[in-house]
């Protein structure tokens, strides 16, 4: 971090360069519009030539706890297995309002896009006093005005739009707060706490935290 501070102006230039580059228009000889099967993604499907599978508008991503586990493992091959891994897709605002634009209060949301978001616990954990055995779950939420309900469900490898509440494993109510900056992309990440980790769920200026103990 010391290096980072000393090199701040240089880094800023690099960062600007990086983001600047990503905003360049795509130059492709033959362009064909490919839409993904999910209606929520039709707004701005990638323009590309791909005979097999176009790239999703809402890219998939992975978050581990410990954070950046695969990178840490590069430096230390003997670390114990991770505690959790989350796989989710990252929709972006694209000038839409989060509520009454993308999400509706009191309606279930897949906490992502496309496939149901998946959370894998490599060992048993406790959430709000409830023991969650090690294993794979899907995770979805119900945003309310003043709180969110976060739900773990056993219907894995499913598409996010259709939840089967009969397979819910646990429902947890968590408070929401507002952030000073607005996030363009939906973001979920783990943050270490004294007795485990919070699953931080953030989009636009909304932040919710699900405390997980282990």
């Amino acid at each position: 971090m010391k290096i980072v501070k000393q090199q701040a102006p240089f880094l800023l230039a690099l960062v600007l360069l990086t983001f600047g580059c990503e905003q360049k228009p795509k130059v492709e000889p033959v362009a064909e519009k490919v839409t993904t099967p999910d209606t929520s993604n039709k707004q701005q499907a990638e323009i590309t030539v791909n005979p097999y599978a176009s790239v999703d508008v809402s890219p998939m991503d992975m978050s581990y706890f410990p954070v950046d586990y695969p990178k840490i493992k590069m430096a230390n091959a003997n670390i114990p297995p991770p505690v959790a891994r989350l796989i989710y897709s990252r929709p972006h605002l694209q000038r839409r309002a989060l509520f009454n634009g993308i999400l509706k209060y009191d309606e279930p949301w897949r906490l992502g896009a496309n496939e149901a978001s998946e959370i894998n616990f490599y060992k048993s954990v406790t959430i709000q006093g409830k023991k969650i055995p090690a294993g794979r779950y899907i995770i979805y939420g119900i945003p309310h005005n003043d709180k969110w309900t976060i739900i773990l469900n056993s219907n894995i490898d499913s598409w996010g739009l259709k939840q089967d509440a009969s397979k819910d494993v646990g429902r947890f109510e968590i408070p929401v707060s507002t952030n000073s900056v607005s996030l363009e992309y939906f973001t979920m990440v783990f943050e270490k706490t004294d007795n485990g980790a919070d699953l931080v769920i953030a989009w636009a200026d909304i932040v919710a935290r699900l405390p997980i103990q282990f």
Binding site: L14, N50, A53, M62, P70, M74, I87, H92, D157, W159
Partner: protein
């Protein structure tokens, strides 16, 4: 020295492009994706159109060509490649599978390749939750198999993986630039 400066700049770029507003991770330049057999399994499941259970799932990241020469260039011939970007590519078998005559128990594995001009060597390895191929250990290989390279007329801008059924086999087709390669899997 110049090479070192470039490496240093590259690492900084990689680090900083991974951190976005409020310190939370930005979107990856090479987005992650999943492919399944049966193809589009979760969609079929949502539509109650499943005819067979889930057999296999691949999680990989999709670098783009962006005008670069890929095979023999960015992906060097004869060297181990993570078949993706960022985290090591993961293949999960939901039931026992057979590759090159070798029975593979169900479970999660990592998938790599050694790319050459005419053949690719696909490698299934036991070490999961790992980054790229930097700490790859051949001692943890489950199977290696050589597969001929095919050319394709419509080049793929992004690295693409998809399962295709061919007779008794479920091929994992890996396509990028103007080539593709099919790893035969049977169940």
């Amino acid at each position: 020295m110049i090479k070192n400066i470039f490496s240093f700049a590259f690492v900084l770029l990689a680090t900083f492009s991974a951190i976005g507003q409020s310190g939370l991770p930005a979107v990856d330049k090479s987005p992650m994706d999943m492919c399944y057999y049966p193809v589009r399994y979760p969609n079929l499941k949502a539509q109650d159109k499943l005819t067979e259970p889930l057999a296999v799932r691949v999680i990989y990241s999709r670098p783009k060509k962006e005008g670069r020469a890929i095979f023999g260039g960015l992906v060097e011939y004869g060297k181990l490649w993570r078949l993706g970007a960022n985290e090591a590519t993961e293949i999960e078998f939901y039931k026992p599978a057979i590759i090159a005559g070798k029975k593979i128990p169900k479970g999660r594995y990592t998938l790599y390749a050694i790319v050459n001009e005419k053949t690719w060597t696909f490698i299934i390895n036991k070490e999961t939750d790992t980054w790229g191929s930097f700490k790859y250990s051949q001692a943890k290989d489950v199977v290696r198999t050589d597969v001929p390279v095919q050319s394709q007329t419509e080049p793929a801008e992004s690295l693409t993986m998809v399962f295709e059924k061919e007779n008794q086999n479920t091929n994992l087709v890996v396509a990028w630039e103007n080539v593709k390669c099919a790893l035969p899997v049977s169940f």
